[in-house]
């Protein structure tokens, strides 16, 4: 499903975010990505959704070569992903409902389906009472859950979440990862960046640890194995 082959990414500022980064994630896996601040986790995610192009190496996601992908094809590729961004990326002038519905509208889904699906997903993340609120009128955790709802709403085969529980209390975080695990059981591949020890050890999933732009450990038993 996801294959990184000797990928390096150097930003225009000269920062080497990833070096010689190789990785393989199969269809249906649930992967935690951990690592210190600035290690390159978000860069890994940005490469996976083709927001950035690698400086070197090859990337395949959903069977597509992201390096060679035409610009016109990118939107259609992105619709096969559900991404929770670390900085949320909500559209400030759209309310919660419209922010979530937007991800469905871009795909030409029928309006009736949108009207049924969006409230269902908002309920799932505990935001049923906030659907008319603008992002600026939400708490940090509420905004994060809108971002999560938007990633889930299209039922994509691959969900990528960059610290989706950073602003959310432990109980709710646990519920969210539990929800993701349920979705994963139905065959959806999930890649989740997180800093929370407790979550990683409580759920027995594969853990990839990134440090200074490279994979330093890759463990299938749900344990950190720092140096």
């Amino acid at each position: 499903m996801i294959e990184f082959i000797n990928v390096s990414k150097t930003y225009r500022t000269g920062t080497h975010a990833l070096h010689n980064f190789s990785l393989n994630i199969d269809r249906g896996e649930f992967v935690f990505v951990v690592g210190p601040s600035g290690a390159g986790k978000s860069t890994f995610i940005k490469l996976m959704m083709r927001e950035e192009k690698p400086t070197e190496g090859e990337i395949y996601v959903n069977g597509q070569n992201l390096v060679k992908m035409r610009r016109r094809k990118v939107p259609y590729f992105r619709r096969t992903l559900g991404v929770v961004f670390q900085d949320f990326r909500l559209i400030p002038y759209m309310n919660v409902y419209d922010n979530v519905a937007f991800a469905m509208r871009v795909t030409n889904v029928r309006r009736r389906e949108i009207r049924e699906r969006v409230p269902y997903i908002l309920k799932l993340v505990g935001l049923e009472g906030k659907s008319k609120s603008l992002p600026e009128h939400l708490s940090g955790g509420e905004q994060q859950r809108v971002a999560l709802a938007r990633a889930l709403v299209n039922n994509p085969p691959l969900i990528i979440a960059d610290e989706p529980t950073g602003n959310i209390d432990p109980e709710l975080s646990f519920e969210i990862v539990d929800l993701l695990s349920e979705i994963n059981k139905c065959g959806t591949t999930i890649v989740m960046v997180t800093h929370e020890h407790n979550l990683v050890s409580e759920f027995n999933h594969r853990v990839i640890m990134i440090e200074e732009g490279s994979v330093v450990s890759d463990n299938r038993n749900g344990r950190y194995s720092a140096e």
Binding site: R79, R89, Y93, F102, R105, V106, N108
Partner: protein, 303 residues
Amino acid sequence: MSFGSFMYLFKEGFKNVWVNRLMSFASIGTLMACMLLIGGSLLLSLNVNTIIGSVEQQNEAVVYPNDEITDEEIRELDTQISLIENVTDVIFIDKDQLLAETMAKGDELAKAMEGLPLGEDNPLQNTFRLRLKDQALAVETKSELESLDHVAEVYIQLDLAETITSIKRAVSLSGFTIVAILVVVSLVIIANTIKVTVFNRRKEINIMKSVGATSAFIRMPFLIEGFFIGLMSALMAFGLLWLGYNYIMLAISTSRTGWIKTAYENMLTFRQIALQMFIYFSAGGIGIGVFGSMFFMNKYLKV
């Protein structure tokens, strides 16, 4: 794009006019202001041109027939002169009439005419007075008149004709130049406004891209927004110009000064140009609104 999502994007664009109202108002204000300037100067130059056109015909030409011409031949010559393309308002004035006219003016020469005899002994000459439609053709018309039978002499103020022609050319040239400058300046201003308003929304464009929206999908609401902003600006500019123009016309029509009255009679009424102006305004406003935002969005769509 399905009909459903077209309708959604249409509504979205309409809503955005209000959601981004600070910027919409700024754009409408700017667009409207520019249209007012262009429309105003267009009206001014159109009117100046028609007024100049009416002044043009003030240059009289004079044709002296032979002394031996008979009354019959005078009528014939009159017809022939009238048949010349560039000639209008032909009047025959016999020499007694001319004398009376000149005396009535009461200027320097009037004194000299005192006591001149009427009838056969009148030293003045029979005269055809006429006007030229186009002063630029004065020379050609002069030789055409000279080639007629029984014509002794043709008197046309060629230097005045040339002056009038060049004034006319200068006025319409500068009118055109002014309108052209205003159009260019307006485009600069409007381009800057659109650039800034699109720049303002680069983040949202980026977010839409990152959840899988195609460029066309993102553009649509901007397009609709540009359409409405352009249309509203055109409507408001048109309305204001109408009010302003009629107000000025009213002010002028009550003037007692002679030349202003004459000018007033030659001025265009707003109705005469309203439809055309409205079409230009709407087309311009909508065109600029739509293509301007398309153009400046491209940069942010390449993500």
